[in-house]
Amino acid sequence: MSLTIEEPKQHPLVSAAGHIIKARETGIGIAVILVVVAATIVNPSFIFSSDGFRDLLLTPSLLMVVAVGQAIVIITRNVDLSVGSVVGLSAYLTGRLFIDFPGIHPVLVFAAGIALGAVLGLINGALVAFAKVPALVITLGTLYVYRGINVAWTGSDRINASDMPASFRALGTGDFLGIPLLTILAVVVLVIAAWYLRNLRSGRELYAIGSDPDAAHLYGLKVTNRVLGAFIVCGALAGLAGVLYAARYGTVSSNAGFGWELQAVGAAVIGGVAISGGVGTVWGAALGAYLLLTINRALPIIGIQDFWQRAVVGILIIGAIVLDRVLAVRQHRRLVAEREVAA
């Protein structure tokens, strides 16, 4: 205590908070670089082969899209556990559309996948926002329901690469100036979401709602509409990721996207999005997704069996929330100290 009083920092509140958040994202960025460097030293082909560099960018792209949506929902103090099931449904829909309507334009397929995701998100959001039921429970339920519908619809059927037109598949594998198209798309989504959350009034309101829903309501913010909107966006992004999944992997079975909800929530949490709402950026969530999947690829190269990947994910999540807690406590002390100095 005395230590904090001895060196009171006179930074304005905003720059202090901005500093911490910035430090958090640079921290994850450094972690990603460390992992890449370590794996490259052990096996240079991790980055220096053409495939290695491509995979480095390509593999995390889909999860990034889902994690961005998840981050938006978590910022409003909710959570969407159904995203993995939404990815699976829209991936299968994508394949189904190409089979049932030969010659359909890929843009229509994209629209259909995103619309399906948005509708599923709307169902989540409506149940959460109108019934005033915790998102955890609702989306746990829809996780079951959506996956069940998916399995019932798919059965033992699976979509193969040959079912989809080459032009669509090229999207999943193609690149522009050496950068995979999917990565470019994911970054575009990320930039739009980040810009929206940072600069638009409705985006800022999401943070206000997450910090204190009751206060936001009393202040006159349209809490119900905003929460509904966050779920729709999250569902739509999961739907987009489903379409991209079909383009990237070519095969879609009934377990596409299985378990992605955990990775998406994990990515957001690792990226500094507080599960209690109101804090974090989509940049962090995207970097978290990047870190998770890069570690996943790096482990076997560093000589650790990839069975241990989930343990590493767990440690990362726990480490990240402990770090958040430590930073929050430290900032709280600093604010108290500043107030005492001012008084």
């Binding site: 039921v133 339920g141 519908i149 726990i318």
Partner: protein, 355 residues
């Protein structure tokens, strides 16, 4: 509605307008609704589903729901205090792997089992310490340990499985009570269910859990050690999940890293279906037990009626959503009614409510 109007005409009965008669308080509860639903499901399954009444169905049903029932007991206590433990399925898997590895290394099963339960206990200590002493949200902590414990379990065994256990113990996990289709293993589980029910409903400790769930600060001011209470609940949950892991291993004669994947979802679905509020402070053990049986019986009956498991998943999900949405729907109806009574009296009804 009409009876209420009649009652409120006499001033003496004003108070009764706010309180439901005894029979309604006992019978018209969420727990009773679930028990009634369970009875309806059982009755219709007996009537229409072939082979549902066979002894084998009963045996399999009980074997299958036993681990879920077991884990639901401490989970109820945790959710009543407005926390959650998502890591239980992973603890079951980890404990199963530990049992398998120790037996493979030549330990006698009782010792391996005890060590596996201790593993679960340690997992609970980790959860509890992170939640209470570090002060982290239990949802985030247990999503992390869900991945961590599962990762350790899968990391230790990889894709291999251990399936050589002493026959005496695997038989014990499967044997029926002589002359009945009921597995012996249900007996200690019944004892545990009674212990947990008494703990929750008839001890000061149990009352303190409701107090914590309703208002943490008020509970702390009235002398309840909130942190320690929660810590012990997580330890309890981990230990019980560890025990369930040993049972799971013996029942299926199989120790695998991915055993009981997703069991946390089933447990939480059953607990919430049984009327425990995710907001804490509300719920009863008989409702939870009925909830576990409802999900199990429904799945069993539908399977026998050759409904595929994915449709069963859909039904489970819809039931879960309905159970929570209906609670808030009922609450909404109740506020409407109370405010209607308040208006009829022509006085400030809210004052009477809060008193």
């Amino acid at each position: 509605m009409s009876t209420v109007t009649v009652l409120t005409q006499k001033p003496v009965r004003t108070y009764q307008a706010y309180q439901r008669p005894l029979w309604r308080r006992v019978l018209l509860t969420r727990e009773m609704a679930i028990i009634a639903l369970l009875a309806i499901v059982v009755a219709s399954a007996l009537m229409w589903v072939p082979n549902f009444d066979s002894p084998l169905t009963v045996t399999y049903l009980i074997r299958e729901i036993a681990p879920i029932l077991l884990i639901a007991l401490p989970m109820t206590l945790i959710i009543v205090t407005e926390e959650i433990d998502l890591s239980v399925g992973s603890v079951v898997g980890l404990s199963s792997v530990v049992t398998g590895l120790l037996v493979q290394a030549g330990f006698p099963l009782p010792i391996a089992g005890v060590l596996a339960v201790i593993t679960g206990m340690v997992a609970g200590v980790i959860n509890g310490a992170l939640v209470t002493f570090v002060g982290l949200p239990s949802l985030a902590v247990t999503i992390g340990t869900l991945a961590l414990f599962r990762g350790i379990a899968v990391g230790l065994l990889g894709t291999t499985a251990i399936s050589e256990f002493p026959e005496f113990w695997t038989d014990l996990a499967r044997d029926n009570i002589t002359g009945t289709p009921i597995p012996v293993i249900i007996l200690p589980f019944i004892v545990l269910a009674i212990v947990f029910s008494v703990l929750l409903h008839f001890t000061p400790f149990g009352r303190s859990l409701y107090a914590i769930g309703l208002n943490k600060e008020a509970a702390a001011f009235s002398g309840i050690n909130v942190a320690m209470t929660k810590f012990w609940l997580f330890v309890m949950s981990g230990s019980v999940a560890g025990f369930a892991g040993v049972y799971f291993t013996l029942l299926y004669n199989n120790a695998r890293g991915d055993n009981a994947t997703g069991m946390e979802l089933q447990v939480i679905a059953a607990v919430l279906l049984g009327g425990v509020s995710i907001f804490g402070g509300r719920g009863a053990m008989h409702g939870v037990i009925a909830g576990v049986f409802l999900i199990g019986t429904l799945a069993s009956a539908l399977r026998l009626a050759s409904v595929t498991s994915d449709i069963i998943n859909v039904i489970t999900g819809v039931l879960l959503i309905l159970s929570v949405v209906s609670a808030s729907l009922l609450a909404w109806v109740r506020t409407k009614r109370v405010s209607a009574i308040g208006r009829k009296k022509g006085r400030s009804g809210t004052e009477g409510d809060s008193a």
